[in-house]
Symmetry: D3
Subunit: 134 residues, 6 copies
């Protein structure tokens, strides 16, 4: 088969395979959320202002990664049948990403707020692993 044919435009999206769909793991979001919590704890225990400013810079990045990993799960892993079976899933992801953002892990340096984020991710992970076993 020739390249000119091989490279011609395809009119149908790949329905059978979402590269790279095979490997998803809520652990990615959770590790970053645990980092957000650990940073908040260290921030509380250290009054050095240079340390605290660095903590806020790094926490901002880690919380953004939490959001990103959750968004990827929501868009790339979960499919319409999942949202039908778990009608709370949209809202759960929206609350979790908000919790990782300015309303939560980014805007606050309270470990309890980061803990709530971890618990929301745990709820998502529970559903995730149920769908993997199904």
């Amino acid at each position: 088969m020739r390249l000119t044919r091989l490279l011609k435009p395809r009119t149908a999206a790949h329905a059978h395979c979402d590269l790279p769909c095979g490997v998803y793991d809520p652990a990615q979001a959770k590790i970053e959320a645990e980092s957000v919590k650990a940073i908040a704890e260290k921030y509380q225990q250290n009054e050095d202002p240079v340390f605290r400013i660095r903590a806020l810079i790094i926490k901002e990045q880690r919380a953004e990664l939490v959001k990103h990993h959750l968004w990827v799960l929501w868009t790339d892993y979960f499919k319409p049948p999942h949202f039908q079976k778990y009608p709370q899933l949209h809202d759960l992801f929206n609350r979790a990403t908000k919790q990782a953002g300015a309303a939560g892990g980014k805007g606050s340096v309270d470990p309890a707020v980061a803990q709530q984020l971890i618990e929301l991710i745990d709820e998502i992970a529970k559903i995730f692993w149920e769908t993997k076993q199904a």
Copy 2:
């Protein structure tokens, strides 16, 4: 007020203000989606394999930006009352980001698939501007 006090941990998230909440515009997602469509069109018109590989590389990046801008709107701009008033909003964003991803703008080089993405963004934009006027 002293720095030691100013820098002490806050237990309440900022409820009144999501920095940087004030400036959102669905145009960001739409410009990138139009870029995805334009790349698909140029790809179809140019059989040079180096050009086509570059087109796929750049389209991958642009489609990722579409997803990112949409995710930001969904998490950072839209609030629970919006989701109550527009019950289709979660699904609309999920379909739009899927359309920007492997099932759509990323996995396909068909301008018609990119056009469907633009139309989903237009639907979101319509709701966005209604909520801004409310």
Copy 3:
């Protein structure tokens, strides 16, 4: 045609088409500049040091995006005939990107400085749309 031939090096640059040239919009720079201004305003209205440090982190990123979007327009969109017709264009872009950088939107948290940045982008946008209509 065979891949070995299709993939062989090209000695001529693509003169007719700068992928992805078709889609440019000064709105990208302006939205980020408006974000820089909004952040400066919120910074002024909120003395919480955690909020202020976050504001400075995010403003730094947004101002960098302003620079990037302007640089792309200057290098990728505008061509020699444009620079001949608008001899002030080089200087205008240089001042605008400087205004987005340390001398302006990055180094200052004064909304008036961000407003000057927006006005420089508006000047560029005016020329941009004139060249699109030409």
Copy 4:
């Protein structure tokens, strides 16, 4: 205490705490390495050239993330006493990151090469968890 004093330069590095040291997990590198392997497998099963080019683009990014996560463990988590106790550790990390790079996961689309990368990460993870329990 005044800000002028709080913000004055520190001459001693923080010896007791490497922000953000608390949260490391070799799972981050392994998830990306599994993604590299899954992409190589899908590549083998799908001759569509657009799919294959996308697979190579994404594999390049995932393999880069493997390298990054491993580098972070090597520099930020492991300390001189670890390197004394595990004299093979430097070489193990160097081989693993090379395996993730051009010599391995990046340069090859053979799932067996990605599998070797996963096994090297497993060796690192084994040592990592031993040091955590110590």
Copy 5:
């Protein structure tokens, strides 16, 4: 001095110092441009399509870095007196960044095109070092 005063908005941009102005070096752009040239040479010598696609992906990234390093010099290092003394400087930078972009290093895999990019950077570097000695 109190934090409330220290953190209040400044109305004047820092005129005396553009953080981080002190360290610029055209070598950054040149190293990446040499990488673009080396990639083009290797591409010519290796017909393996996986190698070639990887070469195009990496060349795209390296050429983007050339553009970025040049833009930074143009906006952050060079000041109005430099542009007065070297009236060709705006055009030289514009041509060099175009040469790094789709019209040159990105769109072509011809080492000669990358060589022209290196020569443009050498011209910029010559002026740069003259201004440093002034």
Copy 6:
């Protein structure tokens, strides 16, 4: 040769060539380390808190780039025979990247700490150039 054959998986990694191996230069790490030092010096000379927070944000980024450039040299440039000939090389890189990280350039705003980082990079550069001449 056909694309179906050209694109089939390769079982052997490219032993002769690590794209993009040809162009490495310790100057990349050193320029960023000099930037870290210059930022620390300016920080000391300027008590403006906005300036200082920006300095810490930018220093964090520059120090991260030092780490990245050093990691690339360690993994991509240096080969087993180099590590045999220079048995101190693993430890030297590990100390240098730690010095660029939280224990050094990131965690400290002392120019002397950044100077130590520069000296470690100089040691690496000396070995690098010896291996290039060999």
